[in-house]
Structures are given as C-alpha cells and as structure tokens.
C-alpha cells in the first residue's frame, strides 16, 4: 500500500472506530438505563476511539516517511562496492542519484554498470519491504488501540474531558507551527548574518558610509573589493519612509476624521470600502504607477522650476508609497476615533464647543495614543515596502537627503543581492541576511511599540 492509500485507510478506520465506539457506549448505557448513565455523551466515546485509532497511525506514517529515505539510502551506500564507496562525496552523490532515478523509472539503464543496476533493484526491494512493514505496523497499531479503547469504554470513563484535552493540544500544535516557523526564520537569518559579520566587521556594516557590494568572484576578476557600509541604505529607507509618512499621515488622518465625524452614514458605507480597495492593490501596480506616471511627472515639473530631478527619485517612490499607506492609516485611525466615547463629544458640545473644536481638543487628544500606534504600524509597513522602491527609486546607493535624487533602500538591496547567479558563500550574498536582520529588528521593535501603545489606549476606556 502506498502512503496516500495508507492515509486514506487510516481515515476510514477512524470513521469505523467512531461508529463502533459510539455504539459500544450506547450499548453499555442501555443496560444502565439510557445514555444518562454515561459520564459523557456517546459522541465523545466515538471521537475518543477514532482519535486513538487514527492519530498514532498518522504520526507513525509521518515519522516513517521522514526516516525511511535516509535509512534506505544508508543501506544502499553500505552495500556499494568498496572502490565506489571510496569516491569523493560529490561523485558518490551522483552515483546515488543515478540509482534512485533508475529505480524510480524502472528503466533498466542500458549503459549503467552492473553494480548500479543491482543497487537499483535492491532499492526497489527495500522500498517495497519498507512499505509493507509500514502498512502492517500502522494498521495493526490502529486495530490494537481500537480494541483496547473498546475494552476500556465504561460509564465512568471521562471521555469528554479527554477529547477536549486532545483538541486543545491539536490547536496548540497548529498555533506553534506559526511560532516555530518564525523562530526558524529568525535563527537562519541570524546565523547567516553572523557568518557575514565574520568577513565584514559589524561596525563597518552599521556605520560605514559606502555601499558597493560588487566583489570579484574569481581571483583574476577586476572589480571592486566590496564596501558594505549600510548607512546609505538606512538613510535612503528613512528618506523614502519620511516622504511617505508626510503624505499618508495627514491625508489618512483627515480622511478618518471626515469619515467618522462628518460623513453621513451613506457616504461612510460607500467611501470606507473604496478607501480600503487602495490597500488591496498589489504593490507592483503602485510600482508601475510610480515609475511610469509619477516619476516622469516630477521630473518634468522639477524642470519647470529649473530643478534637476533624476528620473528615478526618492520623491516619486515616497509619494506613491504614501498613497499606498493612506488606507492603512485611515482605517486604523477611524477605528480609534470611533472608540472615543460619544459622551466625551456630548460633554464638549454641551459646553458650546463647535464640532471642529470638539474634534481638535477632545476627540483627537483622546484618540492620540491609538493614532500614534496606527502610524507606527504604517511606518513599519513603509520600511518593509520593496516593489515601489525597486521600480521608482532606483538602485544607486547615494548617501543623500535630497528627495530628487535616486536612492535605494534596505529591501531593494536585499532583492538585488539575491537575484541572479550568486555564489552563496560570498559576503555579497550574506550581506542580504544582515540587512534582513536589521530590517526585521526595526520593524519588530516598531510593531511592538505600536501594539503596546494601542493596547494601553484600549484599556483607558474599558
């Protein structure tokens, strides 16, 4: 039986176990005067039995399929002729993959050496044995457990509590997948960064003023020796984010104030989703818009004032990014503004304040912490944004605060460092991980602060 068949039969067994378990509990109960005599509802006995028969079996399949390949490969390698075993590792791997291919296609490699064909046959045999063994072990485990649970079912058995506990654990498992993945990502980025810092000192990376990661790959190549000062990237990121925020914060905030305080319900219900559509536009599309429409426009209008604007400018990227972030700011601010109790507005209006005075002096100050939290989240979004910048701001790592020049950001450099043919171990590639680590640290810190601020604000009106 192959694995998919096995999994299917495990599920069939679970279904059977459920029915049997439920019937068994009912049968026991009927002697004692109906289901009321049971500790738990009959479905719980069924579920418990299904779990016992299914879950160990499935776990076994999963473990087996992980270990299986390694074990078989090991046996095959052991059985290879001595002179083959003595080959260097890369060539040995070639032989092994040849064997696997022959076995998988069942094609007798005509020109293959006899020992390869022998090994391939051996591989097929081993795989079949392994499958047989797995099938037998799994199904018999399931059956045995089923019988054991069947025997244990009694009116006193706390089936419900056990089932609830099992479900809690399953949910916990799912939740931890996300956490472990995050931890895995962080750790891998961290280790690669440490490797990078072994070739480039950390202070040079963090405080160096020049960024030109091109390195000679071969000794005889002419090329830069590589400079990994990330300050131009940090400055570029900050510049573009700052431009974006100067657009997004006022526009988003005003939109939120209009929507939550002035707009009639009808306007609100149509405008709000429309604004949120902005958030759904893929960033690549914003990138087109920035590169093809906004950047030329800025270049031309700069020309009218005698300014020399480069065709890829921080301004273009920042402006479009700002527009992209508007709905982000506005919908978060809208939420916190709505959370300001109506009684505060009434209090202010009742004293003779006008609507705008009330908003300026009572509503906004009351909502401020939440708004700040929203803005911080938006900033971390801006810092992490890539596509728009790649397309509109360029790749030149200029150290400048002039928004009409071309700059580059951390995310853009990560992309350019990793696309194309790269040697994995060169500092050039590894520097991407270091940049990623910095980016991750900054956005994590920003998000953390933002969430704390928002949470504190929430508590205020509990």
């Amino acid at each position: 039986m192959d694995t998919s068949m096995l999994i299917t039969s495990a599920f069939v067994l679970m279904a059977i176990a459920f029915v049997i378990g439920r019937a068994r509990s009912l049968a026991i109960a009927s002697d004692l005067g109906g289901p009321k005599a049971l500790n738990s509802l009959p479905v719980y006995y069924g579920t418990l039995m299904a779990m016992w028969s299914g879950i160990p079996c499935l776990v076994l399949v999963a473990l087996w399929s992980v270990v299986d390949d390694y074990a078989i490969a090991h046996i095959i390698t052991q059985e290879l002729p001595e002179q083959v075993k003595a080959l260097p590792e890369t060539e040995l791997n070639l032989v092994l993959s040849l064997i696997t291919n022959i076995a998988a296609n069942n094609a007798m490699g005509l020109d293959a050496e006899p020992y390869v064909i022998n090994s391939a046959n051996r591989l097929i045999a081993l795989q079949q044995t392994s499958n047989m063994a797995l099938t037998v072990v799994c199904l018999s485990t399931a059956m045995i457990l089923m019988v054991l649970v069947w025997l244990k079912i009694s009116p006193k058995m706390k089936a419900r509590i056990k089932v609830e506990k099992a479900f809690t654990n399953i949910l916990l498992l799912c939740a931890s997948i996300a956490i472990f993945t995050t931890a895995g990502i962080v750790l891998s980025v961290l280790f690669e960064s440490i490797r990078f810092f072994q070739s480039v000192p950390i202070h040079e990376f963090l405080f160096g003023l020049e960024w030109s990661p091109q390195m000679a790959i071969r000794e005889d190549q002419v090329g830069g020796s590589g400079a990994f000062g990330a300050v131009p990237l940090f400055v570029g990121t900050m510049l573009i984010s700052a431009i974006a925020m100067t657009i997004a914060v006022p526009a988003g905030l005003m939109a939120a104030i209009y929507l939550s305080e002035y707009a009639r319900p009808k306007v609100r219900t149509t405008v709000k989703p429309l604004l949120e559509v902005l958030a759904g536009i893929p960033t690549v599309v914003y990138g087109f818009f920035a590169a093809l429409t906004v950047a030329p426009f800025i270049k031309e209008s700069g020309g009218l004032f005698g300014l020399d604007v480069s065709s890829e400018s921080a301004l273009a990227a920042g402006l479009v990014m700002g527009i992209m972030i508007i709905p982000f700011v506005s919908s978060l601010s809208d939420d916190v503004i709505n959370a300001v109790p109506q009684s505060l507005r009434d209090g202010s209006l009742g004293l003779g304040a006008t609507k705008s005075e009330t908003i300026k002096q009572v509503v906004i100050p009351a909502a401020l912490p939440g708004i700040v939290g929203g803005v911080l989240l938006a900033v971390s979004r801006a810092i992490g944004e890539t596509m728009i910048v790649v397309m509109a701001a360029g790749l030149a790592a200029n150290l400048t605060l002039n928004p009409t020049e071309s700059v580059t950001t951390v995310t853009v450099q990560i992309v350019t460092l990793l696309v194309g043919d790269q040697e994995f171990n060169s500092p050039k590639t590894l520097s991407a991980f270091a940049l990623g680590l910095v980016l991750f640290t900054i956005t994590l810190a920003l998000n953390y602060i933002a969430l704390m601020v928002v949470k504190k604000y929430r508590e205020q009106y509990e």
Binding site: D346, L349, G352
Partner: protein
C-alpha cells in the same frame, strides 16, 4: 389562592390606568410668571416616531424643576431640546416654541454655540475629558474666549471648583488627569466644568445615577446651592431625590406631560392618578 388575591387589586389598577389613558391636558401648574425658559406645544420626533407629544412647561428663574417618569417616557429627549443637544441626532426633529427668556432657541438663524454657553448640561455618566483637572474646567472659558489672562483663568477654575465643592479635594493636583478622580469627584468636576462658563440654566440628566449615596448627597447639596444663582432642570429616577432638591416636579408619561405641581404636592397629594400610581410604585 393566596397569590391570586394579592394580585387582583394591582391588576385592577393597571387596567384602570390603561382605560383612563391620559387625555393630553397637563394638570397642575406647568406655567409660571417669572419664566427663565418657556416651552410651548413642543413635539419631538425620531424619524416618524413621536417621542414628545405637545408639551408646554415653564421653568422659573432660580427654580429647580425635577422631571420624573418611567423609563423611555421622553425625559432625556425633552431635556436635550432645551440646549439643542438633539441637533447631534440626525433623525431628531423638534417642533413648537422653546424660549430662553425672549430668545427663540430653535430660530433657524440661532447659533447653538452661544446658546449652549447659556444653557449648560451635565450628563448621566461623568464624562471628564482626558485632560488635566485644570484643563477640564478651563475648557469652556477657553473656547468661548471668556478670559485673556492666565490669572483670570486661574480664578475662574478655582471659583468653579469651589462652587462644585471639589476645590479642597483637588487643589493639590490640578494638573493630574481628570479621569483619575473617583466617580463622584468626576461628576462634580463635570458640574464645575459646566458652571465655569457661567450658564444661566443647567440641565442635569440623571446626574447621580452612577454615584454612591455619599457622592449623591454631596451633589444634591450642590444643587441646592447652585439654585441660588442658576436655573436648574434635573431628570431623576429617584423620587426621594426629586423631593429633596426640586421646587416643582413634572411627571412625564409616554411622551406626554401629565402633571406639574409643587414638589410637596406631587409627593403627598398628586393631582393625577397616573402620577399617583407612579410615585406609589404601582408601575414604572
């Protein structure tokens, strides 16, 4: 059996009341000579639903008028007409005449800002702004530009807090947040905030419903004091409170004004049987 006999009289009263459904003519003395605010034939609608039916009432100068009645009978709605707080509710429409002395407050050209400076409001739940105690009280004088100098503002803040008998409790922490006060202190802060703009009339909508008896007693004392200078309309669910603080009491029933009389009279010898039924606790 026993239950039945006990229930019967109550049932009778209830049906009687239904049958004698109120004719619409307010009994007692809804009007007075020295009126600070006068309402004539006021109707209030929420969309098409009528919440106030043809109510006429005067509130005399330096008088405390209590408004009582079962929940949902329109007390808050009526009170909120008096400084046009109902304007903030989109669906709410008011007809009839409401005058503050000679000023027609619902005149289309009437600006609500000066009106609300003259007719202040204290709400059911204390709602101090998330600002310092000082700024809470200074809020009104500032927006109305009542003072130019810091010194004058200090004086207004102090005198308002004194009149709300809160000064001694907060004088050492004027710059800590108003939201950090106790519920009773917060409500007195809101009263101080209201009197800081020197209104002529103060509207109070169940100002003590969120407070304990001690804080309530303090506020009632305060109302008695304030009535020397201000005209007060107060909505309350506590009949003892109405009896203690008010000069006249108005009884509302299903959007209609049933009876207005001297408070003593209302609570000892009510003129209308609906009023009697309410104050003796037979419904409401």
């Amino acid at each position: 059996m026993k239950d039945n006999t006990m229930n019967e009289p109550t049932d009778n009263v209830a049906t009687n009341i239904e049958e004698n459904a109120f004719s619409g003519q307010t009994v007692g003395t809804p009007l007075c000579d020295d009126a600070k605010m006068s309402m004539r034939n006021v109707n209030v609608f929420y969309d098409t639903k009528q919440a106030i039916h043809d109510v006429s009432l005067d509130i005399g100068k330096n008088e405390v008028v209590a408004m009582i009645g079962p929940s949902g009978c329109g007390k808050s709605t009526f009170l909120r007409c008096l400084n046009r707080m109902n304007d903030t509710i989109e669906s709410c429409k008011v007809t009839g005449d409401i005058k503050l002395e000679e000023l027609d407050i619902y005149h289309p050209k009437q600006d609500v800002v000066p009106l609300r400076a003259r007719v202040g409001m204290v709400f059911q739940k204390p709602n101090p702004f998330p600002k310092s105690i000082y700024d809470n009280v200074a809020y009104g004088p500032r927006i109305h530009g009542l003072v130019n100098r810091k010194y004058d503002l200090d004086e207004i803040v102090e005198s308002s807090l004194r009149r709300a008998s809160l000064w001694d409790e907060v004088k050492d922490r004027l710059h800590s947040p108003g939201t950090g006060l106790s519920g009773g202190q917060q409500q007195r802060l809101c009263i101080a905030r209201t009197i800081a703009v020197s209104p002529e009339v103060i509207l109070m909508d169940e100002p003590c419903s969120a407070l304990d008896p001690i804080a309530t007693a303090k506020i009632e004392e305060l109302i008695a004091e304030l009535s020397q200078k201000f005209t007060i309309a107060i909505v309350t669910h506590s009949m003892q409170q109405a009896a203690r603080v008010s000069h006249r009491t108005a009884y509302f029933h299903m959007g209609k004004l049933v009876e207005v009389n001297d408070t003593k009279r209302v609570f000892t010898n009510p003129e209308h049987e609906l009023t009697e039924a309410y104050i003796t606790g037979r419904f409401g």
